[in-house]
Amino acid sequence: MSEPARAETRPPVAARVGVLEIFLTFLAIGATSFGGGVVAYLRNSLVTKKKWLDDEGFLAALEISQALPGLNATNMSVIVGDRLRGIPGAVAGFIGITLPGAIIVFVLALCYASNSGNAAVNAVLKGVGAASVGLLLAVTLQIGHKQLEHYLDMILVAVTLVLVSFVHVPLLYVLLTVGPIAVLLYRPRSLKPDTSGLDKKPLD
């Protein structure tokens, strides 16, 4: 954020990136990414500005982040930090991306605790909560629109939703039952010969 000019001249050699620079880069992302959509901020900073990763490397890291537990933003920060400078890099990336928001949440939590009966505060938070529902639904449907194409996908979405939201099955059991079933349904060379484009990576 503060030093785009210097970043332009930096050669794309990951090993030379300092821990402080990793921290500051993720700090800038953590301070400016509002309302979700952190992936776009990450890509802009790590690929376009810093050139620490090419598009392929970014997508590979994102693929891991999405497949694993945890948030994309924090998973990306530790994966990229680790690739640049090992564990110190991962710690720097993680602290950087979380620190601004963490401080703000903590301060707001203190204010909230001391104003819990305040009608204005409650009204603002109710409004934010209601608006968040619209945001969550939009983000979820956008992701669904991008990633799901098969009627089988829709069935898996519905089964998961019903089990969690209406039958109230604990998440652990949902993951341990629906997860393996879904993976088996999409096991290699099942279903259609593939028109998705997802499976076109050559096997070496």
Binding site: A102, S132, V157
Partner: protein
């Protein structure tokens, strides 16, 4: 020992959070409200809203829950417990991931988990809706949510943060 319970709850949530923060919201609600009795539904909604007002990763709300239960130490334990396990798994996996390059099972896992993640995110949306669209002014809340949804889903690249802040402002006017 409250800190140990915070540690237990949030580290379990951390490793269950496949598909990100939204996917784990229903479970977080169950554990913090129904099982531990740390929060009411309204407090959960308020704390979720506080998390939305901050930049960065969207589950920093765990800090506010930890603070509510046990002050600053609680906030720190909740923060580390929720993020550290998932981060360690991510680092370890990223280091071995390339060994599976081109494995057809890797693609099967991605393809299979994608709809589950969307289902879990929908469930997370419902979990927040059940705390946020309630009360005698639920119609107004529903209208807020609908407007934000339509603007984001059908509109052109609106900044979500602006809509969240507008929600707060509208709340101040209409939900008081």
């Amino acid at each position: 020992m409250e800190l140990l319970r915070i540690l237990g709850v949030f580290s379990l949530l951390s490793i269950l959070a496949i598909g990100g923060g939204t996917a784990v919201l229903p479970e977080m609600k169950t554990m913090t409200i129904d099982q531990q009795h740390w929060l009411t539904e309204a407090q959960f909604r308020d704390i979720y809203a506080i998390g939305q007002l901050a930049p960065g990763p969207n589950m920093l709300m765990v800090i506010a829950i930890g603070n509510k239960v046990a002050g600053l130490p609680g906030a720190l334990v909740a923060f580390l417990a929720f993020f550290a396990p998932a981060c360690l798994i991510a680092i370890a996996t990223s280091r071995v991931w390339n060994h599976f390059e081109g494995s057809p099972w890797r693609l099967a896992i991605q393809r299979g988990m994608a709809p589950i993640v969307v289902g879990l995110m929908l469930a997370g949306t419902i979990a927040i809706a059940r705390t946020a669209i309630v009360g005698e002014k639920s119609q107004i809340c529903l209208a807020f949510a609908s407007v934000v949804f339509v603007l984001l889903y059908f509109g052109k690249k609106m900044n979500p943060a602006v809509l969240i802040l507008a929600g707060g402002l509208m709340g101040l006017i209409f939900l008081r």
